[in-house]
Symmetry: D2
C-alpha cells in the first residue's frame, strides 16, 4: 500500500515534519509532547526495533528483506523512530537537515576515510582497529 505515496526522492524533510505537527495539533497532544516525554517515546520505539533483532545473528539480520512481512514490521518501527525525531525537533525548533549535514562534516573529520577504511575505532595505541 505504501507504494502509492510520494517516496524519499520526492519528499522534503519539512513536509514530513509538517505532517507530524498536524497530527499532534489535531489531537491537542502538545501538552503531552514535552521534549522529555518525546525522548522517552522515541527510546521505546528504538527498543521495539531492537527487539526484532535480539535473538538473530548479524548475517540473518541482513536477510530480513527475504521475509516481506517482517520487513514491513521493521519498516514501521523505523518510521516511528523517525516520526518522534521529527516531533522533538518540532517542539525544540531544530532544523534537522542542517544539523545532520554539520554533524557529518564533524564526523568526517573525526573518522578520516583514509585512516578508518574498514576499521571502526581507535585502539589503545591510538591507531584505528577493525
Amino acid at each position: 500500500m505504501a507504494d502509492a505515496f510520494p517516496g524519499d526522492d520526492q519528499t522534503t524533510v519539512a513536509e514530513l515534519r509538517r505532517n507530524m505537527a498536524a497530527f499532534v495539533e489535531e489531537r491537542q497532544w502538545r501538552h503531552f509532547h514535552s521534549p522529555k516525554n518525546i525522548s522517552m517515546a522515541l527510546a521505546v520505539e528504538a527498543a521495539e526495533l531492537l527487539e526484532h533483532f535480539q535473538w538473530m545473528d548479524s548475517e540473518e539480520s541482513r536477510r530480513l528483506g527475504d521475509d516481506p512481512e517482517k520487513l514491513a514490521a521493521v519498516a514501521e518501527e523505523i518510521a516511528d523512530v523517525v516520526g518522534y525525531s521529527f516531533a522533538i525537533a518540532n517542539e525544540l525548533g531544530i532544523d534537522l537537515s542542517q544539523t545532520i549535514r554539520a554533524k557529518m562534516i564533524k564526523n568526517a573529520e573525526k573518522y578520516p576515510a583514509e585512516q578508518f577504511r574498514g576499521k571502526h575505532q581507535l585502539g589503545q595505541d591510538g591507531k584505528p582497529i577493525g
Copy 2:
C-alpha cells in the same frame, strides 16, 4: 555554523540518505552495518538523547532552547538517531517517506482526532483518557 547548509525545506529525505550511504561506503563500514548492529547503535543514540532529560522535569525540558549550548548538544543527538535510521533503511532498502505516510494514516484511524482530542490512551472501559 549549521545555518550555512540547506535546511529541511530544501532537502529531500533521499539526499540525506545518500550522504549517509556515501559516508559508510567511503570508510568501507558496511561489514559492520548489519541491521542488527545498526539497531543497537540507534538505541545507544536514543539513550544519549534521553540522558539530557533524565533529571529534568517536563516543563524544564520545554525551555531547553533558552540554553543554545544544550540545544545544540540535543540537536546533535537527534541527528545521530535520524542518521542511523537512514543507515538501517539504506541496508534494508526501505522507503521511509512512504512508510511514514502509510503509518500516519494507520495512526489516524487508530486515534481518531475527534475522539482522542487532549487524551492519549484508552481506559479500561475502552474510552480515551487524558
Copy 3:
C-alpha cells in the same frame, strides 16, 4: 501471589542467579544467550519499563503504587531487567554484589555527600548544581 515466596531479606543474589541459570539450561537457550544478545534483551525490557512512564509526569509516577494493577505490571518489568542482568552476569562470570559494592565506593568518591547534597551534577564552574 508473589507474597508466598521468600522475600529480599531471605534471598541471596546467588540464589536468584542460579534460578535464572537453571531456567536457561532447562530450555537449552545458552546458544541464544551471547552477552551481545542478552544486552539487547535487557535494553528491550528497560524500554518496556520506560513505556509505563512516558506520558506521565514525575509526581504522577510517584503515586503509581495507588493502582495495584499498574504497580504489578511495573514490578514485572523491573524483574525482567534484573533477570537479564543476572543472565549476562552468569554468562560472563561476574560477581554482582562485589561489583556493586566497589562501584558504590567509587560513586561516593565522585559525588561526596557534603558537596552534592540536594544537587545532582557539576555546573560549568565545576560546582555542583541542583
Copy 4:
C-alpha cells in the same frame, strides 16, 4: 579490588537495596528519584551496556572475559543497571525476589521446557522455532 567484598553467595538482595537507599538519602537525591526519572536513568545505563557490544559479533561477545579491562567496564555497566533497578524498587516498595520468583513460574508456564528446548519463539503455525 572488588574481590575484597562479600560476594553474591553472602549477600541478600535487601542488603544491596539498603546500600542504594543510604547512598540516595545521604545526598538528599530523592526529589530527583521519581520512578519516571529513574526509569530513564536505568534505560541510559542499559544502553551504555549495549554500546560495548554494538559492533562486536555474538561469538566475540562470548570471549569478552579474555580482556579483563573490558570485562571490568562491562561489569560496572551491569552494576549500574541493577543499582537503578534497586532504586526504583525502593521508591515503589516492590519486593524484587518475590516478583522475580513469581515471574519465573509464569515464564516456565509460557515456555514449557520440553516444548521450547533449543527453540525460542512460536512460529506462525503455533509451534516453537529455533
